[in-house]
């Protein structure tokens, strides 16, 4: 489903119905997905439609830029060691309209479950998009329309065994790659204490040949420092 499409087009896939049709001098974009209908008129007669996986933080409302992934089982991180695990994340499908070098978001949809949670306490905590994931030791096979895969390197920098039950990521640093069968991200989690860790993303695909997605959450400032999320309210 992901890729670039010439207009007009019609896509029917896994409960998603998407079309762009000519209507005189303009184009009409129609989409149906999970009981949600969208119709927009595009004031142009030509262009391209780009369908990419985007940061999973837009549906049902863009309330937060943080994604919390709860592990289905508790992990014990060995002292001074780095381990690689694979987690799933919800996929949101971004539809971009493109003309020449200019492209902008037209619509976002998802087939994945949606839930929010609070990380930390109500005064100092942050609202996060919530996702519960199985923990895999090898790259799992998932439906790329529904779920993506994060390859997460967990580094325990302390001298103690520590329990890890969740990871929080900030959308500013998310770098999503896709191909026909996989949507992926690569991330690090550096544990610095019993309740403190730092997460960030690596700008590379999980496997060769994947294309990079367009990003919705682009930092306005020059990224001299890689955007990180500091987990201070527990692992």
């Amino acid at each position: 489903m992901f890729g670039a499409y010439d207009i007009p087009l019609k896509i029917e896939q896994e409960g998603i119905s998407l079309s762009v049709e000519k209507d005189g001098e303009t184009l009409v974009y129609r989409r149906e997905c999970a009981d949600e209908k969208v119709e927009k008129t595009l004031l142009t007669g030509k262009g391209k439609l780009l369908i990419h996986p985007v940061e999973p933080l837009n549906k049902p409302k863009a309330l937060t830029s943080n994604l919390l992934i709860e592990f289905d089982k508790t992990l014990m991180a060995a002292p001074k060691e780095t381990s690689k695990i694979f987690l799933t994340f919800p996929v949101e499908i971004g539809v971009f309209i493109s003309k020449g070098k200019s492209s902008d978001i037209l619509d976002v949809m998802t087939l994945a479950g949606q839930k929010f949670t609070l990380y930390g306490d109500p005064k100092h905590g942050v609202i996060c998009k919530y996702w519960k994931s199985e923990v895999f030791s090898a790259l799992p096979s998932v439906n790329p329309i529904h779920e993506g895969v994060i390859g997460l390197d967990i580094t325990n920098t302390t001298a103690k065994w520590l329990e890890v039950t969740q990871a929080v990521f900030n959308a500013q640093g998310m770098r999503i790659y896709y191909d026909d069968t996989l949507v992926s991200m690569k991330a690090n989690m550096k544990i610095m204490g019993k309740v403190i860790a730092e997460t960030d993303f690596i700008d590379s695909p999980l496997r060769k040949g994947m294309a990079k997605s367009l990003e919705l959450y682009v930092s306005r400032k020059l990224q001299v420092v890689v955007p990180k999320f500091v987990m201070e309210a527990g692992l």
Binding site: P60, K61, L63, T64, Q114, K115, F116, T117, L118, Y119, P122, K123, G125, V126, I127, Y130
Partner: protein, 278 residues
């Protein structure tokens, strides 16, 4: 010359004109600077801080101008200090509330229990803080009316700030009939809350049978939501809960009383008389 005419003491008409001109110019400069600050810092500072800076600059210029023209009016500060005792007392009594409001306003700026844009209840008035002035605070009620509250009252009253935290909780009490299955009702409600994306996963929603009421078994439901979304979620969920319970045959009862008649025979007699008449 007419401008040299003495008005009182050593103060001439020229002095008075100069004083008025200086004050008018000071007010003009203060206003221009205030507008300039608003325009130039609009995107760099949040509205609240910008307002504070604007007001400090505005009133600062006027106060400096006022103090600089006082000697022209024959008022010197040493004299003021002597006269200050009596005049200050008189002014103090007269402007007690104004000064109190002013000082309360300063404390509000320092403590910041509320900010511009916050949803609050102050002195029993609920709404959004529209502006915090040096003397008073304006709250726009949910119905859209601006209400001016003196800062003294704001400072001294209980303030509920609904948006200071990122999440908040709301509750329902849902009564069902004694004949209904309370466990089933709780399961239906729990599933609905868990399905709602904006009802937070953590802190977890909480529901329990709270009371065996006169006409109903009362189930309390407590749900946490992002603070910006609570009202919409509360309204939406309550309606969904009502519909889902009714769909499963669980009804929300009306208040009811059992009435015992002392004499059942009387009813029989009326029935008999009805039959005989027919």
């Amino acid at each position: 010359m007419i401008l040299d005419r003495v008005v009182y003491g050593k103060v001439t008409l020229l002095n008075l004109i100069v004083v008025v001109v200086i004050l008018v110019v000071a007010v003009l400069i203060a206003k221009i600077l205030s507008i300039y600050l608003r325009r130039s810092l609009k995107e760099k500072l949040d509205k609240e801080n910008l307002e504070v800076i604007r007001k400090v600059v505005y009133y600062g210029i006027i106060i400096i101008a006022l103090f600089s023209v006082l000697p022209m009016l024959g008022i010197n500060f040493s004299g003021l200090l002597v006269a200050g005792g009596i005049v200050g007392l008189a002014i103090g009594f007269a402007s007690q509330r104004v000064v109190s409001n002013l000082i309360s306003g300063l404390f509000l700026f320092i403590e910041r229990p509320i900010r511009i844009g916050s949803a609050v209840t102050v002195s029993g008035i609920s709404g959004v803080v529209e502006d915090i002035h040096i003397i008073s605070t304006t709250i726009r009620t949910w119905d859209g009316f601006p209400v001016r509250i003196p800062n003294e009252q704001v400072f001294a009253s209980n303030i509920t700030n609904y948006v200071v935290n990122v999440a908040r909780r709301f509750s329902y009490v849902i009564g069902i009939r004694y004949s209904d299955d309370a466990e089933k009702a709780m399961e239906i409600i729990k599933n609905l809350v868990e399905e709602h994306p904006l009802a937070l996963k953590n802190p977890a929603p909480f529901l329990f049978v709270d009371e065996l009421g006169e006409s109903s078994v009362n189930i309390v439901v407590k749900v946490w939501t992002p603070v910006t979304e609570w009202f919409g979620v509360k309204a939406e969920l309550l309606w969904k809960i009502k519909q889902a319970l009714e769909k499963e045959g669980i009804e929300i009862p009306f208040p009811q009383s059992e009435v015992w008649f002392a004499n059942e025979l009387k009813r029989q007699e009326i029935k008999d008389s009805d039959q005989s008449s027919s």
